[in-house]
């Protein structure tokens, strides 16, 4: 009995030590989006109900593509993204696609980079990643509006 408790106590000690070592400098929210990104992929660019936003960050060479599919009531029913860049950029765009789904185009336009940054606990040096995601959404919405306008003019 005593030997059992001694053994279990010996086993517990190294486990506790391992838990106390910090694993990464990214917040767990970012790691989650990086390892299990939602909505990666593409929508049909030529579809008139799809708006495509393509943005880039010159300072670090990140590229981000965000696409939204809008129904006839102006609600975003699907969103996909593809981002090449750092973990924060990927997480920001992943989160952005999650959030705009189910919103109207007006509501989506109100999404601010500060909301994304807060959710992901982005450090100051990575704030531009959330800014990029906000720009991507706005670009996608703008593209959609242009397409809709064209459709109206063609009629």
């Amino acid at each position: 009995m005593a030997s059992l408790t001694r053994v279990s106590r010996l086993l517990q000690a190294p486990l506790r030590r391992v838990q106390s070592i910090p694993v990464a400098l990214y917040h767990e929210n970012v790691v989650e989006h990086y390892e299990n990104p939602r909505n990666v992929g593409s929508l049909d660019k030529k579809d008139s109900t799809v708006g495509t936003g393509l943005v880039g960050a010159p300072a670090c060479g990140d590229v981000m593509k965000l696409q939204i599919k809008v129904d006839e009531n102006g609600k975003i029913i699907d969103a996909k993204f593809k981002t090449f860049g750092c973990g924060s950029a990927i997480a920001s765009s992943s989160l952005a696609t999650e959030w705009v789904k189910g919103k109207t185009i007006d509501e989506a336009g109100k999404l601010k980079n500060t909301d994304i940054a807060k959710e992901l606990r982005l450090p100051p040096v990575k704030l531009h990643c959330s800014m990029l995601a906000e720009d991507a959404i706005k670009a996608a919405l703008a593209d959609y509006k242009v397409k809709q306008q064209k459709k109206k003019d063609d009629k």
Partner: protein, 262 residues
């Protein structure tokens, strides 16, 4: 001696912002230095402290850009690093222009091998290993000089860094935000990133890396031309493109590493 001193005193009124007198005299500089008015001017123009290192050291570095008083022998020295009289290592001014430091003209075009040669020459003068038996101030200065020269070398050696440094000297920088970029260009960058994403063999990745290197070399040639013609707008645009290409190269390097590791 007195007559000479008087002539120089008159010229001392024309002291330029750097504290030089423009008189040529047969008398010794120590004679000039004893003239009370000149002494005051020199003191007023001297010692611009930068706080952080000052706090570290407990003394105020003397760093006028051209004429300087050696902290050790107090004599005039034009040599920025080693006093020409007593050979003591001078304090560091980290705001020095890197081109000036490495003794290169302030242009984009420079020869890398010459830069490396110059780098080695400078390091041989100030490397901390050479100051192990010297005063602690010199040892501290030696570490500072060494790291400053390292930083200057790296900045001037790598083309994109050199370009960005030149922009900085002109009071500009690469746009930090997602400013209006050529959609076509971004599309192309997207496709090339996807190409790397889909490539899974070492050979494929190395081929893409190689073609990117060639492309970057071309861009550097364009950059050189733009800087030579002082076309900073075009230079900035080329550097932005280079940034994207370099980012793809970094992705390839990371992927190759993980392929090797697995």
């Amino acid at each position: 001696m007195r007559r000479v001193a008087r002539i120089c005193y008159a010229n001392a009124n024309k002291i330029n912002g750097l504290g030089y007198t423009s008189c040529r005299t047969v008398g010794t500089t120590s004679a000039l230095a004893t003239l009370p008015r000149l002494q005051v001017e020199w003191e007023q123009l001297g010692a611009a402290p930068y706080l952080s290192t000052q706090q570290k050291r407990g003394y105020v570095p003397d760093n006028m850009s051209t004429a300087s008083n050696c902290w050790n022998c107090k004599k005039d020295t034009t040599d920025r690093m080693l006093c020409q009289h007593c050979k003591h290592l001078q304090d560091v001014n980290t705001e020095v222009n890197y081109f000036e430091l490495m003794d290169f003209p302030q242009t984009f075009a420079l020869e890398a091998s010459m830069l490396t040669k110059r780098f080695r020459q400078l390091q041989s003068l100030v490397h901390p290993d050479k100051f192990t038996n010297k005063t602690s101030r010199e040892q501290s200065n030696s570490a500072d000089w060494s790291s400053l020269i390292n930083k200057a070398y790296k900045t001037l050696l790598i083309p994109i860094e050199r370009g960005q440094y030149l922009l900085k000297l002109h009071g500009r920088q690469i746009p930090q935000d997602n400013s209006a970029l050529d959609k076509e260009f971004l599309m192309e960058m997207m496709e090339r990133n996807e190409e790397v994403d889909e490539a899974n063999t070492k050979q494929e990745l190395e081929d893409i890396h190689e073609s990117l290197t060639k492309e970057l070399e071309e861009k550097v040639k364009h950059l050189s031309k733009h800087f030579a013609g002082n076309n900073l707008e075009e230079a900035t645009a080329v550097m932005v493109e280079m940034k994207y290409l370099l980012s793809i190269q970094k992705t390839i390097k990371n992927k190759l590493q993980s392929l090797m590791g697995s």
